[in-house]
């Protein structure tokens, strides 16, 4: 492992991670469901690229598996599945948010700054990428906020997926060049199955209430 390679690799990883952050912020403003899904697919593609760079630069072959799994699952399969779902339920237009966009942007900005501050004591120990951990925490926080902010069930699924992207980023780029392979494969299939179950659930919600608005579920109480 010669220093120049690992330095430029760390640089590349940080750059890709910050583009992931930009895409996450775009997800907060974008209102079209299909465009949302494509932004998520692009974000996952960047995650796969980061995994590939980590695998190449730090000679960690099992990270390649993560890259391939991410590429197959989150860049190709899940977006395809979600787009099919959107076509089936025939709602592709607006997503009602609880908070308007400028306020949501302010909240996301505050969350990102919080993530930077939280990650700061750890970054001195970090071997890879300068602020990759901060970006990963920011992805999780913004994904969490996105889940709270959006009403439509399908964007909540997307928000969950972006949170998972954040977790994966932290796992790959932070400490151990990824978790043990079994754990990674486990998490991966967990997410795929969860999304498929959620997809069926979304379809059911739509059939029962003629809407994807999860606040309609409150009617079940009475």
């Amino acid at each position: 492992m010669n220093p120049p390679t690992s330095e430029s690799a760390a640089h590349l990883i940080t750059l890709l991670a910050s583009i992931m952050l930009v895409l996450q912020l775009l997800l907060v403003v974008q209102r079209m469901l299909v465009a949302n899904i494509r932004v998520f697919a692009t974000q996952s593609l960047l995650l796969a690229a980061i995994a590939a760079v980590v695998g190449y630069a730090y000679h960690a072959p099992h990270v390649y598996v993560v890259a391939v799994l991410t590429l197959a699952g989150k860049v190709i399969f899940l977006p395809w599945w979600l787009e099919r779902l959107v076509r089936q339920i025939k709602i592709e237009q607006e997503i009602d948010a609880f908070v308007n966009v400028p306020a949501a942007m302010l909240i996301c900005g505050a969350q990102t700054v919080l993530a930077y501050i939280v990650a700061r004591p750890i970054t001195s120990l970090e071997r890879l990428g300068n602020n990759t951990l901060a970006v990963a925490i920011a992805l999780m926080l913004i994904g969490f906020f996105l889940m709270i902010n959006r009403r439509k069930a399908i964007t909540q699924v997307l928000a969950l997926l972006t949170m998972e992207n954040g977790v994966m980023l932290a796992a790959i780029a932070l400490t151990t060049y990824g978790m043990p392979l079994v754990v990674e494969i486990g998490i991966f299939f967990d997410v795929v199955v969860a999304v498929m179950v959620l997809g069926i659930l979304v379809f059911r919600i739509r059939e029962t209430f003629a809407s994807m608005d999860v606040s309609k579920l409150n009617e079940l109480k009475w």
Partner: protein, 313 residues
């Protein structure tokens, strides 16, 4: 560093001659991408020449502001352009000001254009002016934050210093904060040049028009000056974006070969950027006017995050 007269003249000529070509290139590519044949890329030159020969119709209610606006718009765009390093790292007028002066000059031009729209008291002009001011109130801070991010990394707000600092040891090419700032700056570029998610440059027969509404009362020579000024402003912003974020290939020494190479790199960068603008314009629909501040608030937040992240790690 004294004022270099040949460089000044060369960059003025470059700005004047290249700006319409860039506009024409974007129009032509956009048409090609939409399966139309489109105007030839040198059509904007013919437009300018034709407008210059036409008579002017000026409203009898118009005051001196209306008459002075075209010159102000043209001259501010041009002098802002002289502060941006284009072919060499040394901008001809970098002695007079850096990023702040550039933003100030563009704001002055915009201020007069808005006044010129209001002055003849046509209903559309007033609407265009109020919209322009509303949007620029958010777009301008976003642009300043993005430029400051780069300025902090370089330790100077002088644009030539920023470009020169890129050769220094502390410069990190495509720093994460630069990626955020670049995204912010690109959104601002779309807003400032009246591109599609914000404004439609192809029509002046739309109720939601912004830029075109302000120049609805202008004709003849004045219209030529304003249109030319607008395309110079577009060239200035695009070469600013290209050169402060990707300062590659700028001529280091004053030999003809270096200048030629610098020109080649500048053209290549502008062509790439124009391609990106064309792609965005073709793949997006125009936003509803009340949604535009949402987009610009994203740019503002990206700029803020870029600036904050330079301090936080």
């Amino acid at each position: 560093m004294n004022l270099d007269l040949p460089a000044l003249l060369a960059q003025t000529a470059l700005l004047l001659l290249m700006a319409p070509l860039l506009s024409g290139l974007i129009k032509n590519w956009k048409a090609k991408l939409q399966n139309r044949r489109g105007p030839r890329i040198w059509q904007p030159y013919f437009d300018v020449v034709k407008f210059l020969r036409k008579d002017m119709v000026i409203s009898e209610h118009a005051s001196w502001i209306f008459l002075v606006t075209p010159y102000v718009v043209f001259v501010t765009a041009l002098s802002a352009g002289l502060m941006v390093p284009m072919i060499t790292a040394h901008a001809p007028m970098s002695l007079f000001g850096g990023a702040l002066a550039l933003v100030g000059l563009l704001a002055l031009g915009r201020f007069f254009l808005a006044l010129g729209g209001l002055d003849p008291a046509s209903a559309f002009g007033g609407m265009g002016s109020s919209r322009e001011m509303t949007l620029s109130a958010i777009a301008e801070p976003a642009m300043m934050l993005a430029i400051f991010t780069v300025a902090i990394a370089a330790g100077s707000t002088n644009l030539s210093q920023i470009v020169l600092a890129s050769h220094g040891p502390h410069w990190k090419f495509l720093d994460p904060s630069h990626a955020l700032a670049f995204a912010a700056m690109f959104i601002v570029l779309l807003a400032e040049t009246g591109r599609i998610p914000v404004d439609n440059p192809a029509t002046h027969l739309e109720l939601t028009m912004i830029h075109e509404a302000m120049l609805l009362e202008y004709s003849g020579r004045y219209l030529a000056l304003i249109e030319w000024g607008a395309s110079i402003k577009q060239l200035v912003l695009m070469s600013l974006l290209a050169n402060i974020f990707f300062p590659v290939g700028l001529a280091a020494d004053a030999t003809p070969a270096a200048f030629g190479l610098g020109l080649l790199f500048l053209v290549a960068k502008l062509v790439l950027l124009a391609g990106a603008v064309v792609l965005v314009e073709t793949t997006n629909a125009k936003l509803r006017l009340f949604r535009v501040p949402d987009l610009l608030s994203v740019a503002f937040m990206l700029g803020t995050l870029a600036l904050v992240s330079t301090f936080l790690f």
